[in-house]
């Protein structure tokens, strides 16, 4: 398996608080990798560092290397907007723009000077399993969709740009079981084309969707490996305790 995205010796601190300590991880191409761990372990911080979302926090201090293929995404001569086009993101709470469904898809395309015709919109919505539900209401405000539909719209918005990697930050945490199931199916279907990193609180979800799992604890990577191995035969004692629910 080819490594698509990786972090080497990554340290991140906000002010005086160190959130990530010497993290080394890798994400394989066309695989789903789950980041699990208790609240505050730094998994969201790690995920957000992959499309440079911390650039917006003035007190964030980032040391180390993050490589997308052969490209250091924090190198000075590469624009951050280019990185975010290649590495898309889906957030914890569905955050469609306060615009119409159609405009939600075309927004990113127009920004990046990509074609944004009817066929592109349809394709993105098809890929996010949303087309059949909204094809007659493309001009409707996106905020009128249900929570699960909104999250799939956000996924459609991300895939419309044809990114190489999609980052998902607990995409199902605010959704009901039926919507969650739909999104999980969607994620599994998307991995054929994209590399996916997903942060989740839900260990069953990690087992259902992920090829590889990374367990983090207090800002450090404790263990990483094939999902089966992490859940059935963990090497680290803390991992064992976490997946058995002794703490969380």
């Amino acid at each position: 398996m080819k490594t698509k995205l990786s972090a080497q010796n990554l340290n991140i601190s906000f002010g005086t608080k160190q959130v990530l300590k010497n993290v080394n991880v890798s994400f394989n191409e066309n695989e789903i990798t789950a980041l699990i761990g208790p609240s505050g372990c730094g998994k969201s911080t790690l995920l957000r560092s992959f499309n440079r979302m911390h650039d917006l926090s003035p007190d964030a201090n980032i040391n180390g290397t993050i490589m997308l293929d052969d490209l250091n995404i924090y190198s000075k001569n590469i624009p951050v907007t280019e990185i975010r086009k290649r590495i898309g993101m889906v957030f914890q709470k569905a955050n469609p723009f306060p615009k119409s469904i159609q405009e939600n898809i075309t927004y990113g395309l127009k920004i990046n000077n990509l074609p944004h015709g009817k066929d592109v919109i349809e394709k993105a919505l098809q890929e996010a399993y949303l087309w059949d539900e909204v094809k007659n209401d493309l001009k409707m405000p996106a905020t009128r969709l249900s929570g699960g539909q909104q999250q799939r719209l956000c996924i459609a918005r991300a895939v419309a740009l044809r990114p190489e990697v999609i980052l998902m930050d607990e995409p199902c945490s605010a959704l009901d079981p039926v919507s969650t199931l739909k999104i999980e199916e969607l994620i599994k279907h998307l991995k054929k084309k994209y590399t996916i990193a997903i942060v989740t609180h839900n260990m069953q979800q990690a087992q259902r969707v992920a090829d590889k799992t990374i367990f983090m604890y207090l800002g450090e990577v404790m263990e990483e490996g094939p999902t089966d191995q992490i859940f059935n035969n963990p090497k680290n004692e803390i991992t064992t305790n976490y997946i058995n629910g002794y703490f969380g």
């Binding site: 499309n51 979302m53 917006l56 003035p58 907007t81 280019e82 975010r84 086009k85 898309g88 993101m89 957030f91 709470k93 955050n95 469609p96 723009f97 306060p98 615009k99 119409s100 927004y107 990113g108 920004i111 990046n112 405000p141 996106a142 905020t143 956000c154 918005r157 991300a158 740009l161």
Partner: protein, 296 residues
């Protein structure tokens, strides 16, 4: 305190606050009734048509003329000019403070701008006479710079603190999720501001503008000092103008009680009242149009 006296105290304060609440409503109603009552007295003497379309305001002439069209046009001209300056400056500054400025700069800028609102209007007017007027006179080659442009510039300065403060609050209140979503698809700050943040903050920004318009229409002392107060139909920004507020302020002190002229000033005040009301209604209309896209 025992139970019974606590109950009594509760009832006493309920009555007190109810009374203050109704008192304010009664005051507003009373002002409105007084305006209407005196305006009616005026319209018994002068035809409404002559009042609204008359080109000449000469209440102390031998045969008095009560045409207020020049006054309406003057107020509109000065207000419009002020907004032309204040809206881009105000919304731009608000955007800078809310999106671009570092926390330290923001902590200095915001209180400073709010302090600008504390400068008395008479001081602004004074600055207009001493600095702006000679400047405008030089630039436009006029005998003096007491004209609509001078008033518009000063009113813009006076409306800026309101517009900036309210618009900044609105822009700042746009959920982070929208910004992240926009940055997440590769937008830069300018694109995010223009296409996501400003539209999302539109209700608040329009409120800010409308408050600024209200301030500009109603401002009296500054325009009275710097616009020259010639009650003639203005032909441009370099003409001397007499706004509705200035007319009332100047003439009310000298007018004989309960004459037609006296009632005429009330009629002007009523028109002014409806103009600000109209500005508020227009603002409210736009605010509701933008709310459609927001989550309930």
């Amino acid at each position: 305190m025992n139970y019974k006296s606590r109950i009594t105290l509760d009832i006493v304060f309920k009555v007190v606050f109810k009374a203050t609440g109704y008192l304010v409503l009664a005051l507003l109603g009373g002002i409105f009734a007084m305006l209407i009552y005196n305006s009616i007295s005026f319209f018994l003497d002068v035809k409404p048509w002559d009042f609204f379309t008359g080109m000449e305001w000469a209440p102390t002439a031998k045969s008095p003329k009560y045409g207020m069209l020049p006054l309406i046009v003057s107020t509109t001209l000065v207000t419009f000019g002020a907004m032309l300056i204040a809206i881009p400056l105000g919304v731009g500054t608000a955007s800078y403070i809310a999106i671009y400025a570092k926390p330290r700069v923001k902590n200095i800028l915001k209180p400073t701008i709010e302090m600008l609102a504390a400068i008395p209007s008479v001081v602004i007017g004074f600055l207009g006479i001493v600095f702006l007027s000679p400047g405008i006179a030089d630039l436009a080659d006029l005998p003096n710079g007491l004209n609509a442009l001078n008033g518009a510039i000063l009113l813009a300065i006076m409306a800026l603190p309101t517009i900036i403060t309210v618009a900044e609050d609105a822009i700042h209140a746009v959920p982070n999720a929208y910004k992240e979503a926009s940055y997440g698809v590769g937008a830069n700050r300018w694109q995010t501001l223009r296409k996501v943040i400003i539209p999302a903050a539109a209700p608040g920004v329009i409120t800010a503008i409308m408050l600024g318009v209200g301030r500009a229409i109603g401002e009296t002392m500054t325009v009275l000092m710097v616009t020259g107060n010639a009650a003639l139909m203005p032909t441009g920004m370099f003409d001397s103008v007499k706004t509705m507020t200035a007319t009332i302020a100047i003439e009310m002190g000298e007018v004989p009680y309960e004459t037609t002229h006296y009632y005429a000033l009330y009629a002007i005040a009523t028109v002014l009242f409806f103009m600000t009301l109209f500005a508020n209604i227009v603002g409210e209309f736009f605010i509701n149009r933008f709310r459609k896209y927001h989550a309930v």
